[in-house]
Subunit: 233 residues, 2 copies
DNA sequence: CCGTCTTGGTTGAATGACCAACCATCTTGG
DNA sequence: CCAAGATGGTTGGTCATTCAACCAAGACGG
C-alpha cells in the first residue's frame, strides 16, 4: 500500500484528515522546500503529533507525491478553465489567454513551482516518484494536446507537426521559463512569455501564408499580446 | 574562501589534484546523483582519502559547483563550435545544426543533465548555489543571444522580439525538453526537437511572408529537418 | 654529506548533527 | 468497553565534516 489517501476503505473523515495533513505539508514544503522540511515541521503546521502523519502516509515521499498531485491538478484546472472561457474568441487569442495562466502561476505562486521541480529532481533517483511523475506528465500533455487539436481545426493550414509533440514543446518551454524564473526572479517573465507568444503565433502566420491567405501582420500580434513590436537595431 | 579551485596561490600541481578530484566527483555524481553520492564514494573513485577532499574543497556543495561549471562550459563549447562550423550555410540550417548539439547532449549524456537539474533544485534553497547558477545562465544566454543576433542579420525581416528574450525562450524549451526526457526517457526526443525546429523556423517563414518575399514551403523545412511533414488527420 | 627540521599533502577514524520511521502508550467516540 | 485515532519520546542509521597523527621530500645547518 503506497498511498493511503487514495486507498478506499477509509472513512470520509479520515480522508478529510489526510487532506488536512497534505495541505499543511504543501504549505510548509512550499515555504522551505522538500529537503528543508521535517516531519516535525509538518506536524506543527497541521497542529498534530509527528507520529500521526505516518498513520495516514507511509513515508515522507508519499506525502510529497500527494501534495504534488494536488498542485498539478489545480494548475491544469486553471488552464482548462481559461481555455474554455475563451471558446468564442479567435484561435490566437485563445492560445494566448491560456498561456497567461502559466505566467500568472509562476508570478503568484513561485513556491509551488519550486516544489514541483524539487519533486522532479527527486524523481531522478526515486523510481516510485518517477512513475507518478510520468503519469502526471501524461495527463498534462493530454490536456494540452487536446487544446492544440481544437485550435488546429480553427486555422487555415493545420500544423505540420503532431499535435502532441507541439503540445510537449509548449509545456517544455513553459517549464523552462519557470525554471529561469525560479533561478533568477529578477528577470522579466512577461517579456519571455511575450517572446514565446510571438514564436508560437508566427507559426500561425506561416500557416496563413502557406494557405495563400493574407498573412496577419506582426503588428496585429503585437496588439494582441499587449505590446509594441521591438525590431532589432 | 569559498572555492579553492579558483583561488590563486595554489601550486599548479595542486590545481591538477583539485581537478582530478572534481572529475572523480563528476563521474560518481553523474552516476548516482548528488544526493546519492557520499564523500566516501568520491574519495573511492578518486583513490584518495575522504579527508583530502575537504583539503581542496570546503564543502560537498563547492565540489558540486565546480563539477557543474565544468559540464556547462563543455556544453556551451560544443554549441559554439557547431554554430561556427556552419557559418557558411543558410540561417535555418545553422540554427538547426546548433539545436542538434542539445539533442545529442541529452541523448548521449543524460546523467550529466540530471546532475544539472539536481543542482538547480538545490539552488532553490541554497543562496550560494543559486548565485553561481545565475552566473552560468547569464553566460549561456549571452552565447545564445549572440547567435540569434548573428542569424538575425541574415534574415529578410529581423525578429520582432528582443534577441535576448528569444534566446531565453530557446534555452527554456531545450531545458524543458531535457526535463521531459529525464523523467521519461522512453519518449521520442527527436520528435520533440523536430517540433521545436518547426516552431522556431515557421517564425522565419513568417519573416519572409511579412517582407512580401516568397515564403519557403513547409516541405522545404521538412527536408531540412530530415523528416516528412506529418499533416494532422 | 648526512642527520634534522619544515612544510605541504594525505590519511581514516571519531564526532556530532540530523531526522525518518517506529512504537509503547494514552484518549475518545460509538 | 474497545477499536480507531492520536501522542511524542526513542531509536537507528546516515553522512558531512573535523582533526590528530603520519609521511615524503626538499631546505638547512653543521
Amino acid at each position: 500500500m503506497t498511498d493511503k489517501l487514495l486507498a478506499p476503505g477509509l472513512s470520509s473523515s479520515a480522508q478529510q484528515r489526510a487532506r488536512h495533513i497534505a495541505e499543511a505539508a504543501a504549505a510548509v514544503m512550499s515555504r522551505n522546500g522538500y529537503g528543508g522540511t521535517t516531519m516535525k515541521d509538518i506536524a506543527a503546521e497541521a497542529q498534530v503529533a509527528p507520529g500521526l502523519i505516518h498513520y495516514y502516509f507511509d513515508s515522507k515521499e508519499d506525502l510529497l507525491l500527494a501534495v504534488v498531485r494536488m498542485l498539478c491538478e489545480e494548475m491544469r484546472q486553471e488552464a482548462r478553465e481559461a481555455f474554455a472561457a475563451s471558446s468564442g474568441a479567435a484561435p490566437i487569442a485563445r492560445a494566448w489567454a491560456t498561456l497567461q495562466t502559466a505566467q500568472t502561476n509562476i508570478a503568484d505562486k513561485p513556491d509551488r513551482q519550486r516544489l514541483m521541480f524539487e519533486c522532479i529532481a527527486l524523481a531522478m533517483s526515486e523510481p516510485r516518484v518517477r512513475e507518478q511523475l510520468i503519469e502526471l506528465y501524461v495527463d498534462l500533455l493530454d490536456t494540452t494536446s487536446g487544446m492544440v487539436d481544437e485550435l488546429n481545426t480553427q486555422v487555415p493550414t493545420p500544423l505540420p507537426v503532431p499535435a502532441r509533440d507541439f503540445a510537449a514543446v509548449i509545456v517544455a518551454a513553459i517549464d523552462g521559463i519557470t525554471l529561469q524564473q525560479l533561478i533568477d526572479p529578477s528577470r522579466d517573465a512577461a517579456a519571455l512569455y511575450r517572446a514565446l507568444g510571438f514564436i508560437l503565433l508566427s507559426g500561425v502566420a506561416a500557416s496563413y501564408a502557406v494557405a495563400g491567405l493574407p498573412t496577419p501582420s506582426l503588428e496585429d500580434f503585437a496588439a494582441l499580446l499587449g505590446t509594441q513590436p521591438e525590431p532589432q537595431p
